[in-house]
């Protein structure tokens, strides 16, 4: 079970699970708390991980949405995320994966260039969100957004599927065709 598969288990009643993958614990923890504070109709579960593959001995529910958190200040986080992507089944990328880049506010500290992350998101055809997870208000807004996305990916919103959402989320800066 080293590879995460989207539909490997039956869903639990009214439950939605999100997996946050990132190298630093503190921002993930804070983001998880913000998400749990948001009140929504479904029951939320938040799992945190530093990298994939996840240990296979733990009994975890079906994961509906994976968010890869990349800190633009450290190349290490970017590399870890790239390695983790190899352990995700291809069917996850039909709308159930999302990239979150943090730390873009302070340009001088960024060691990973913005275009690198954009290219990664473009390669895997997944939405890329920018958020400064250290600022309380931005974090709360991003948590709300992720909760809505999670509800759709878990199928709790009738009429919209994860793939529909993906088609609707056109990233504003798509690379020109020459580069690809």
């Amino acid at each position: 079970m080293s590879v995460l598969r989207p539909m490997d288990k039956l869903p639990d009643l009214n439950r939605a699970t999100i997996l946050l993958v990132g190298t630093e614990d503190a921002p993930l923890q804070q983001l998880a708390e913000s998400m749990l504070k948001d009140d929504c109709a479904s029951e939320l579960r938040v799992h945190l991980a530093n990298s994939l593959p996840l240990p296979s001995d733990v009994n975890r529910p079906r994961i509906d949405l994976i968010v890869f958190v990349i800190n633009l200040h450290s190349k290490h986080s970017f590399q870890k995320v790239e390695e983790s992507l190899n352990h995700v089944d291809s069917r996850f990328f039909l709308g159930k994966v999302c990239f979150l880049a943090t730390g873009a506010g302070r340009e001088s500290h960024c060691s990973v260039h913005r275009s690198t992350v954009v290219k990664l998101a473009h390669t895997y055809r997944s939405p890329l969100l920018f958020c400064d997870l250290e600022v309380e208000s931005f974090r709360a807004t991003m948590a709300q957004r992720l909760v809505r996305m999670l509800q759709i990916c878990a199928g709790h919103v009738p009429g919209v599927s994860a793939l529909n959402l993906l088609s609707l989320l056109r990233s504003s800066d798509s690379l020109p065709s020459k580069e690809s």
Binding site: V3, R5, M7, D8, K9, L10, E82, L85, N86, H87, V88, D89, S90, R91, F93, L94, H122, T123, Y124, R125, S161, L163, N164, L166, S167, S180
Partner: protein, 271 residues
């Protein structure tokens, strides 16, 4: 329509049966859906996993997306909408929900309108106050205007003339009073020498003319000052008592002529 009627008959017979029927039907539908899901799940678990590398990611993902989107599109096209059987209790529950929603909306509307009303009342009060103040100002201005008008109308030359005459008379009276007081003061404090002292007897004998009072000297000086302002000098005559002349000169009331020591004039206090 004819197909529906035989279905309706067993529902209308007893209420109890109707209730059980709806619940059972719903439970049956749920069970069926769960069985379908389990079937799908079994089928899915048979499909193997495949991971992506960055090189083949885009192409394979795009082709997968195409397949899935076309499958979803087919599903949406084929799907027929099932309505929940509109039995009595279903209708009642739906109706209750609708009424609740309506009530919430109406309550909101009521509260907004009430707050708007209050605001409007406050605005009206404020405007009323402002209007009252403006009216008061207008009234006072009107009164002022009519006052000024009245004053203007009774303005005539004779009135001014009379007023000026009265002023002049009063000033003249004042002048007379001042001169009288001055005369009395001078008589009291600066009398003519009646008896001369023995020491000054020699000096005094040279004068033969009758001495005039200090009052008269001062009068002469004042008159000269106003009669001939270009030449206000008065020649010192023997009728002036020399100590009084010295008194006037030393106290700055009179001044000597700069070239002629026998002439004095009054200091110009009015200039």
């Amino acid at each position: 329509m004819s197909e529906n009627q035989p279905e309706l008959h067993p529902d209308i017979t007893t209420d109890m049966e109707v209730v059980i029927d709806t619940e059972e039907e719903l439970i049956k539908q749920c069970e069926k859906m769960w069985e379908d899901m389990e079937d799908c799940q079994n089928k899915l678990s048979l499909i193997g996993t495949e991971t992506l590398t960055s090189s083949n990611a885009q192409l394979s993902l795009l082709s997968m997306q195409i397949k899935c989107l076309t499958a979803e599109l087919d599903h949406w096209n084929k799907r027929t909408h099932e309505i929940t059987p509109l039995t009595e209790d279903v209708l009642i529950t739906l109706g209750k929900e609708e009424f609740q929603k309506l009530r919430c909306n109406l309550e909101m509307v009521v509260s907004t309108i009430q707050s708007k009303n209050e605001k409007l009342k406050e605005d009206l009060e404020r405007e009323q106050q402002w209007l009252d103040e403006q009216q008061q100002i207008l009234e006072s201005l009107n009164v002022l205007h009519s006052d000024l008008k009245n004053r203007d109308v009774t303005f005539s030359v004779s009135r001014i003339f009379k007023e000026l005459k009265a002023k002049m008379l009063s000033i003249k009276d004042f002048k007379e009073k001042l001169l009288f007081t001055l005369g009395e003061f001078l008589e009291d404090h600066f009398p003519l020498p009646d008896g001369t002292s023995k020491k000054k007897k020699k000096c005094m004998q040279t004068s033969n003319a009758q001495l005039i009072t200090l009052h008269e000297i001062i009068e002469m000086l004042i008159n000269r000052m106003f009669d001939a302002p270009h030449d206000p000098y008065v020649k010192i005559s023997d009728s002036f008592w020399p100590p009084y002349i010295e008194l006037l000169l030393r106290n700055g009331i009179a001044l000597r002529h700069p070239e002629d020591p026998t002439q004095i004039r009054l200091e110009a206090f009015h200039q």
